[in-house]
């Protein structure tokens, strides 16, 4: 893109962990003032690469040059001193400290070397926040009180508080709403105009089109394409590079509309409300039906699912399974009635990461394999295996620790748990988050097949095409209110996005 020498050159970087070769000779070249996008499926080596760049991992081999000089990034502090800042996906802020304290954590402006000059820190933090387009964030507020989007801004302010020349952003848009993403892009534009280089990691190809200059694609620890033009490389080519084959989102076939009309609803939600989160929701779910909830982050989607599941206590309304009302606010009642939840934060909310596949799958059905509390481990293992095989979970090893599975297979382990439990209503919250593009189609097929076998599915996803492609019926949510309900075939992405943002049903 430019004739000037690159700001950063990484060549032949290798890094192995016990049993895994995470990086197998990766090259990356970044010039000042560009947005360099890093693409790749989960496990392709993106995280390892940026950790090497941040000084958090030491590479086994390869060289790094910075502004033409060879350097060794022996610690995060070394990288930071050179002007490399990293904003991780999981923000590394201290919730109990104020915005200003977080921004200057580790390099506080001080008098006599140890007395923190609070006022100066606040003034300078305020200036940084203004530069980031968020003057409304109060530097004195505890970070824990801020929204996720604002916390990310604080994280960026921290990066800018150093004399930064390269910022690495790891999926910065993952937790943001569209207008917040717009602001993020404005910030990125401002940074690059100042000559700062940005390494931008995202799963969303359309974002890369919008702000990227060049793209490096990683696959299986190698760079399979270095410095492709971000705007003009066809999507098909990029996906092919990432997956090694041509993949599109493939949704399984749906039964005809009205095919399930005769059936009695298995799940009924009547006037379910949680003050401050969502207004009265009514819905019916028939066996074999997939109902999608579309809406932005914060529209109350996950909250509705968790309230139906009993993990949150409703302020009004009730949930009925087969016409019988459930005890409110009780997960155990919901599970006993045949409801299962695959939550949004799979690792934090569903999985026992260090435990085996078998134990993760059987955890909700333990008493089935026990007599007087005594486990029949053979029966447990066989049943768990039958369930995971039905979902083609890979590897087909019941003793594998769930931690070692890919995102898609971890999700299958959660689904297998409910399959084994014999549940009849499945609540899916962002079922394909963190799942490779290639593995998604398979997951969609699994979900549809479970529905065809008589399961009722309530699906939440922030990816509108996913809701439209998979669900039979769609409820559109905006600010905690159902603003539209229609057959999925009668909606298109544009219409749903309109409804989600405007909330003005015109039909």
């Amino acid at each position: 893109m430019a004739p000037e020498p690159p700001l950063l050159t990484m060549s032949g970087i290798t890094k192995s962990f016990p049993g895994v070769r995470a990086l197998d000779g990766v090259d990356l070249e970044v010039v000042a003032g560009e947005v360099h996008c890093l693409l790749g499926q989960n496990g392709a080596g993106k995280s390892t690469l940026i950790k090497v760049l941040a000084g958090a991992h030491q590479p086994d081999g390869g060289t790094i040059t910075w502004g033409g000089e060879p350097v060794r990034l022996t610690s995060p502090i070394t990288a930071m001193r050179l002007g490399i800042a990293t904003i991780y996906q999981e923000l590394d802020l201290v919730e109990g400290l104020s915005v200003a304290e977080n921004v200057f954590l580790g390099h506080e402006p001080t008098s006599a070397g140890f007395v923190v000059r609070t006022r100066e820190a606040r003034t300078r933090a305020a200036a940084l926040l203004r530069r980031l387009g968020h003057p409304e964030i109060d530097p004195a507020r505890p970070v824990g009180d801020l929204s996720a989007a604002h916390q990310q801004i604080v994280s960026m302010a921290r990066a800018l508080s150093h004399d930064v020349r390269l910022i690495v952003m790891d999926e910065p848009s993952a937790a943001l709403d569209p207008d917040e993403v717009d602001n993020l892009f404005r910030i990125v534009d401002g940074l690059t105009a100042d000559g700062v280089a940005v390494v931008y990691i995202s799963h969303r190809l359309e974002e890369i089109r919008r702000i990227g200059d060049r793209v490096t694609v990683l696959k299986d620890g190698r760079a399979v394409a270095v410095g492709l033009p971000a705007k003009s490389t066809p999507t098909r080519d990029v996906v092919a590079l990432m997956t090694g084959r041509n993949v599109e989102y493939v949704f399984p076939e749906r039964p005809e509309p009205g095919a399930r009309v005769g059936a009695e609803p298995v799940l009924k939600v009547e006037g379910l409300t949680r003050k401050g989160e969502f207004e009265p929701v009514d819905l019916e779910l028939r066996p074999g039906e997939i109902v999608g909830l579309a809406g932005l982050v914060g529209s109350g989607r996950s909250e509705i699912l968790e309230t139906v599941y009993g993990a949150r206590r409703p302020t009004a309304g009730r949930v009925l399974v087969d016409g019988a009302p459930l005890r409110v606010g009780s997960v155990r009642a919901a599970v006993a009635a045949g409801i299962g939840l695959a939550p949004e934060e799979r690792k934090a909310q569903a999985l026992l990461l260090t435990e085996s596949v078998t134990r993760n799958v059987s955890v909700s059905s333990l008493s089935r394999f026990a007599r007087a509390g005594w486990l029949d481990r053979g029966a447990e293992r066989d049943a768990a295996r039958t369930a995971t095989r039905e979902l083609s979970l890979r590897p087909d090893n019941p003793d594998a620790a769930v931690r070692t599975l890919s995102g898609g297979n971890q999700q299958k382990a959660v689904l297998a748990r409910w399959l084994l439990r014999g549940c009849r209503v499945l609540l899916l919250d962002e079922p394909t988050r963190g799942v490779d593009v290639g593995a998604r189609a398979e997951l969609y097929a699994v979900i549809r097949r479970l529905a065809d076998e008589g399961l009722a599915v309530l699906l939440v996803s922030s990816e509108v095409p996913e809701v439209l492609g998979l669900a039979d019926r769609v409820l559109v949510l905006r600010e905690g209110r159902v603003v539209h309900s229609a057959d999925a075939r009668e909606l298109d992405e544009h219409r749903v996005l309109d409804l989600v943002m405007e909330g003005s049903p015109t039909s």
């Binding site: 962990f17 016990p18 049993g19 895994v20 599941y309 993990a311 997960v331 155990r332 919901a334 599970v335 006993a336 939840l341 939550p343 934090a348 909310q349 569903a350 999985l351 026992l352 990461l353 260090t354 435990e355 134990r359 955890v363 909700s364 333990l366 008493s367 026990a370 509390g373 005594w374 486990l375 029949d376 481990r377 053979g378 029966a379 293992r381 066989d382 019941p398 003793d399 620790a401 931690r403 070692t404 748990r417 439990r421």
Partner: protein, 350 residues
């Protein structure tokens, strides 16, 4: 995984529960648990090594005194009381909790079980009282933590203080001598079974029961799940609060049993009984490989941890080294064991 066929056949009984449509899968399944068992053994191997070294040191420095049958019986007997406490504490720690009140519960149960009024009911009265007092204290801990929403550290710290206080109030600081002969008899060599003191048999029984509960029951599985990821356990439909309540009850029960054992051993009840047991039990569990953050731990490891500590104490005493030196050595062993575990754990990580 590539076990030769003969070794897989050792697991014949387990295969009985496997329908096994084909011949191949069952033999593969036999390999899984075996591999798992081996890995656990490796984790405890370093502790066994430490124990072997200690026995060698004892045998070399004081060959006559250390290897004497009476001394070995003593080591095992001394391990028994704290060992029973440690089994209970191990469960609590695996579940992600902590129980700081075990020493105080042992003290309270032992003095309550040895009041003049209790002793009138003889053997059964003493045993019953010790167990019930332990259970009651554990119940209070459990209720405060599960349903009162208190942090385990705080709730059990409060129990530590008040149980000790109550124990002092009951005894008025005096030693309560046990006069029930059938209780005292259990501490005498005449009661030994094949040379094994009854207390050691109780310890062995508690250990076996603990191992079975942890590894073979839904209770054990739920304990690990709660400790590994409480939120996931809750959303999987496990009653996390009730599970926690049961765990503190279990710890209290172990303390009650240990109190009875201590009464046999010392022939008395004192409010200073079980002093610092909480630290010894936690330390033994930790060097045994139990993760303080929960989700992982073994009964065998904890029991080995107890044996290591008791053996050290014994050797030092035989060599006329004071308790200050013992304390320093204990601290060093905790540090060394945890460092070694961190290494081996990291090595095994993928």
């Amino acid at each position: 995984m590539t076990q030769p066929a003969p070794s897989a056949q050792h697991h014949g009984p387990e295969k009985g529960t496997v329908p096994g449509p084909a011949a191949a899968p069952p033999s593969k399944q036999g390999g899984g648990p075996r591999a798992l068992g081996l890995r656990v053994d490796v984790r405890n191997l370093s502790l066994l090594g430490v124990l072997a070294v200690l026995i060698a040191v004892g045998g070399i420095t004081e060959p006559d005194a250390f290897l004497d049958t009476g001394n070995l019986q003593l080591i095992l007997t001394q391990s028994s009381v704290i060992g029973v406490v440690t089994v209970g504490v191990t469960f609590v720690i695996i579940s992600g909790g902590i129980d700081l009140s075990v020493g105080a519960m042992v003290a309270l149960a032992s003095v309550w079980a040895t009041t003049l009024a209790t002793q009138e009911y003889g053997f059964a009265g003493i045993l019953f009282t010790a167990v019930v007092v332990g259970l009651a204290a554990g119940l209070v801990n459990g209720l405060l933590i599960s349903y009162g929403g208190m942090v385990p550290f705080i709730a059990t710290l409060a129990m530590l203080a008040s149980a000790r206080g109550l124990a002092l109030q009951i005894t008025d600081g005096k030693t309560q001598i046990v006069t029930v002969q059938s209780v005292l008899d259990l501490g005498l060599p005449d009661s030994y079974v094949l040379g094994i003191p009854p207390l050691v048999l109780v310890f062995a029984a508690v250990t076996v029961a603990g191992w079975l509960i942890l590894n073979r029951t839904t209770f054990g599985r739920r304990t690990v799940a709660v400790g590994g990821n409480a939120e996931a356990a809750r959303l999987a439909g496990i009653d996390v609060r009730r599970q926690r309540l049961y765990l503190y009850l279990l710890s209290g029960l172990c303390c009650g049993i240990a109190a009875f054992m201590l009464v046999i051993l010392s022939g008395s009840g004192q409010n200073t009984n079980g002093n610092l047991y909480e630290l010894d039990a936690i330390a033994a569990a930790i060097i045994g490989g139990t993760l303080l953050s929960g989700g992982r731990g073994t009964i065998v490891g904890s029991v080995l941890g107890v044996l290591v500590f008791t053996t050290i104490t014994n050797i030092f005493a035989l060599n006329n080294l004071q308790s200050d030196v013992q304390q320093i050595a204990k601290g060093a062993i905790i540090v060394a064991a945890v460092l070694v575990q961190r290494r081996t754990l990291r090595g095994g990580e993928t």
